[in-house]
């Protein structure tokens, strides 16, 4: 009995340790965001203090006023939203059938495709930006939100494909065979059996593509010229001066505004990220 008690105590201690580690990790992840929010509400004099406080002593909305006054934050956020949602949806729409085909129909093409996905991730932005600029210029897609969406789709596609392949592989082929035995067509099997099981994967891939496009800076900087087309990430750099000087309060305020859509997107979709949908689907 005492052995069982010792084991229980050890297990409880283990759980406590795990939760503490998890809590520490959460604090580590959340700290920059909380600090950003705190900074956004601090007056300039508190930002220059050598003893920073967790919370502002005198809360102020002045930084938000200056940020909204000096830069077109809402318009750029709308541009970012159009670009990020479009790029994410298109990339995933293309990646779903492609990932399915590459997993289910093994061939030299699918192997080469997989290798190409990996290779494509190795090119740094600076290497491709000038050729890309020239290609888009010839297509009259410079300074165009449509052009930027295409770039983001192409840039996100390989990794989206890679992510979705893993999810497709996790769907047992026996489920599709069972559907076929029951008389379901290939299309019906995909729509009614495979896609619902892929929902968590689709949501994860959508989130990844959305956040990548939302945060992307360099392509947007180089490809969009007109102020009315520029996205949020580009607008944020306007609060930086020469030699790395920053207008810290308004920059923090604008950054808080910039994180809100991502947080909302996650909040809306995270319920779909449930795991274990496949549990018990196949016997044995």
């Amino acid at each position: 009995m005492s052995t069982v008690g010792t084991l229980r105590a050890k297990r409880a201690a283990g759980h406590t340790g795990q939760y503490l580690a998890l809590l520490a990790y959460l604090v580590f992840l959340a700290f920059p965001l909380l600090w950003l929010v705190s900074t956004a509400f601090k007056p300039a004099k508190e930002l220059g203090s050598i003893d920073p406080t967790w919370l502002p002593k005198d809360w102020t909305l002045e930084n938000f006023r200056v940020a909204f006054d000096s830069q077109p934050l809402l318009h750029s956020a709308l541009n970012s939203l159009i670009v990020a949602v479009s790029a994410a949806v298109i990339a995933v729409a293309i990646a779903i059938p492609a990932a399915y085909a590459m997993v289910r129909y093994k061939s030299k093409v699918s192997t080469a495709g997989t290798a190409w996905i990996l290779v494509s991730q190795m090119f740094p932005f600076v290497l491709i930006i000038i050729p890309l600029f020239l290609v888009l210029k010839n297509l009259h897609l410079i300074n165009s939100i449509g052009g930027l969406i295409i770039v983001y789709v192409v840039w996100n596609l390989p990794f989206s494909l890679w992510m979705l392949q893993g999810y497709v592989k996790a769907v047992p082929i026996s489920l599709e065979e069972a559907a076929a035995v029951d008389g379901a067509s290939r299309f019906r099997t995909l729509v009614s059996v495979v896609f619902p099981l892929l929902t968590p994967g689709l949501v994860a891939t959508l989130m990844f593509s959305f956040v990548t496009a939302w945060n992307e800076f360099f392509f947007a900087l180089v490809l969009l010229k007109s102020p009315e087309n520029q996205t949020m990430s580009v607008i944020l750099t306007r609060f930086l001066g020469a030699e790395g000087v920053a207008d810290l309060g308004p920059l923090a305020a604008a950054s808080v505004i910039a994180t809100i859509p991502s947080l909302l997107f996650f909040a809306l979709l995270q319920r779909r990220l449930v795991s274990g949908m496949l549990a018990g689907a196949v016997k044995g």
């Binding site: 300039a44 004099k45 930002l47 220059g48 203090s49 050598i50 003893d51 200056v66 006054d69 000096s70 830069q71 159009i82 479009s86 298109i90 293309i94 492609a98 600076v126 930006i129 000038i130 600029f133 020239l134 210029k137 009259h140 897609l141 410079i142 300074n143 165009s144 939100i145 449509g146 052009g147 969406i149 295409i150 789709v153 192409v154 360099f218 900087l221 180089v222 010229k225 007109s226 102020p227 009315e228 087309n229 520029q230 580009v234 750099t237 306007r238 609060f239 930086l240 001066g241 020469a242 030699e243 790395g244 000087v245 920053a246 207008d247």
Partner: protein
């Protein structure tokens, strides 16, 4: 694969139509000339001043319409390089003289020699024109500049009985070294320093090291005219290294400057300055705006000239510039706009918005730029001693600075290498880098 491409293309076309923002290169409509002006103004007052002047110009010049395009100092070089290469550069470009060299030699910027109006040529002093003259041409109008100044805690200086220097009677570097010792204190007697004489923010050490070396007669880069064009040579003797050695002594021997300050950018030293931890901080003139904004209400501060060497308080500067893209078809109209922005009243407005100094002699007469408050007058007096930074017009300087000089100066100030190690990196390795640009 073809289907995938078709899907992509169809999607792209649909999105472009939906977004309704396909670019077209037509900048003339109804006989009007439309020019893009890429501005790097970033402080609210400065953006407002720029936009106001653009609106005024457009109203007064119905046939030339300027479109204000906002850029950012953080990434201007990459942005310009890509748009030059792609043939989509803005017509009028706000930048810094230091950044113009490669673009001027690359043929991306228009030579403005024949376009400059005579009164503008006369109004801006020769040293400022020298900073934008390279490759046989003039590639920008230098309109704003800022020296490095010593921003000091008045209370601490007065308490130590220290003479406040003026541009006419500055401290010498030796005096400054002694004053820093006087201002360094262990207030509570626990064996650790509570107050340092000075904090050298050396996150980006090269420009300030090169520019301040002029005061001690240093000339890190020399230009030799040969049959094969101008050749840049690096030289690092006692005059060039005098200020760097002083900083090294203050950090590693006298301990009058904290080692932790070396990794800081300019504005990072401000909290310690406000808290009385650092009595003085050398910062660019425009940093006064942050000091004025962030300093506690009861904090008294002074703007002092940097110490003098055998060449006085001379220091190098890299002015902000307005240039014209070589690709623009409307160089004359672009020059008209630049001349408008550089009119004395307008130049003064832009300078005040950015807390900088105008280069023009007439704009410098603006009373607000010469008032005592916030050290404007001290900066105005120092402006007479400014020279073009030695780095201007040196091809390959960015690579020399980023790859060799930055780590070399950082190691030297940190005490990880000696003067010979620094010299070897700057001169022997450095000359090889510059030579590659001079073949």
């Amino acid at each position: 694969m073809r289907r995938k491409l078709t899907t992509l293309a169809a999607g792209a076309a649909a999105l472009t139509l939906l977004a309704g923002c396909g670019g077209n290169g037509d900048d003339t409509a109804g006989g009007k000339v439309t020019l893009d002006y890429l501005s790097l103004a970033w402080q609210k007052e400065s953006i407002d001043a720029n936009k106001k002047l653009v609106a005024q110009f457009n109203k007064e010049h119905p046939n030339v319409q300027v479109k204000y395009v906002q850029g950012s100092w953080d990434n201007i070089h990459d942005q310009l390089l890509t748009s030059f290469e792609g043939g989509e550069a803005p017509d009028i470009i706000h930048d810094e003289a230091y950044d113009l060299t490669d673009f001027a030699y690359g043929g991306y910027l228009a030579d403005m020699t024949e376009l400059l109006p005579a009164d503008l040529k006369q109004d801006i002093p020769k040293p400022s024109w020298d900073s934008v003259s390279m490759n046989g041409g003039v590639y920008g109008v230098p309109f704003l500049q800022e020296p490095r100044m010593m921003i000091a805690n008045t209370k601490l200086l007065k308490a130590a009985g220290i003479r406040i220097p003026t541009p006419d009677k500055p401290w010498t570097w030796d005096e400054f070294e002694d004053i820093s010792k006087k201002l360094t204190k262990d207030k509570n007697g626990d064996g650790s320093t509570d107050q340092y004489g000075v904090a050298w923010g050396m996150n980006e050490p090269v420009n300030q090291s090169v520019n301040l070396s002029l005061s001690t007669g240093g000339e890190i880069f020399t230009k030799d005219k040969t049959d094969d064009g101008v050749k840049n040579k690096v030289h690092y003797g006692p005059d060039e290294s005098a200020v760097a050695q002083l900083i090294n002594r203050q950090v590693n021997k006298d301990h009058t400057s904290p080692k932790s300050g070396l990794s800081m950018k300019g504005s990072d030293t401000l909290p310690g300055f406000f808290a009385g931890r650092y009595a003085m901080v050398p910062l660019n003139f425009s940093f006064r705006q942050q000091v004025a904004q962030q300093a506690p209400d009861d904090f008294d501060w002074e703007v002092l000239p940097m110490p003098a060497g055998k060449d006085g308080i001379t220091q190098g500067v890299s002015p902000q510039t307005l240039s014209i893209s070589e690709d623009t078809e409307h160089k004359k109209a672009a020059m008209d706009f630049i001349a408008y922005m550089s009119e004395p009243d307008h130049m003064a407005e832009l300078a005040k918005g950015d807390w900088m100094l105008p280069t023009g002699k007439e704009a410098m007469k603006d009373p607000a730029i010469n008032r005592e408050k916030y050290g404007w007058g001290a900066g105005a007096a120092v402006s007479k001693s400014l020279k073009p930074s030695p780095m201007l017009g040196v091809r390959g300087y960015p690579e020399w600075s980023d790859k060799l000089a930055t780590p070399a100066y950082q190691r030297f100030y940190n005490g990880d290498t000696d003067l010979e190690g620094l010299r070897k990196s700057l001169v022997e390795d450095g000359q090889r880098v510059l030579n590659r640009y001079q073949r």
